[in-house]
Symmetry: C2
Subunit: 109 residues, 2 copies
């Protein structure tokens, strides 16, 4: 990434970000990467997103379906399932906790 700091910050949040993207609608890796790039994560690399997807699939947070593409190899479409929604909810709680503490620290400066 542009900043080493931001890279470290993404650890732990990128997974939640991907889950949140999938919560709006099912998607496949290449698409998710593109969407994140549009949304400002300009330096996000495909390999990173795919690694997250492999992980959340192995942990059973998503259902996977292979869908043929006219433009290339088959897409692996990921759909957030109940388990994933639970983890996403936990992510939001943790994020809000952390954001609140950090906001407080920012005020004190």
């Amino acid at each position: 990434m542009g900043s080493k700091q931001l890279t470290e910050m993404l650890k732990g949040t990128l997974e939640g970000i991907v889950l949140a993207v999938l919560a709006t609608r099912p998607a496949y890796g290449y698409e998710i990467t593109a969407r994140l790039r549009e949304q400002g994560f300009t330096d996000i690399v495909e390999g990173t997103v795919y690694a997250v997807l492999v992980r959340i699939e192995r942990r059973g947070l998503v259902d996977v379906e292979k869908v043929p593409s006219e433009k290339g190899p088959p897409r692996k479409v990921y759909t957030l399932n109940a388990e994933g929604r639970t983890v996403l909810d936990e992510f939001w709680r943790n994020w809000e906790f952390l954001a609140a503490r950090i906001h407080q620290l920012h005020e004190e400066n």
Copy 2:
């Protein structure tokens, strides 16, 4: 930490948090740990904070002074210097960027 998720989220932010604490006033490791615990990071362990302090000292973000304590071994008091303030400012920028993206994602759900 209580949650593995929160642990991962702390990567990259804990350093900023410590810098922010030092920005309010100089402090030593044991004290910082205690303050963070009071502020809600109940499961933060001393070893973790000390590791951050070693790192930011090695990178020249703080000035260090050994101060005798009546209650135990000498304290290493850390003071944020100009270099550290620069890194802290960068942290705030990165944090706000990330928080904005994630907030946006939260709205879309």
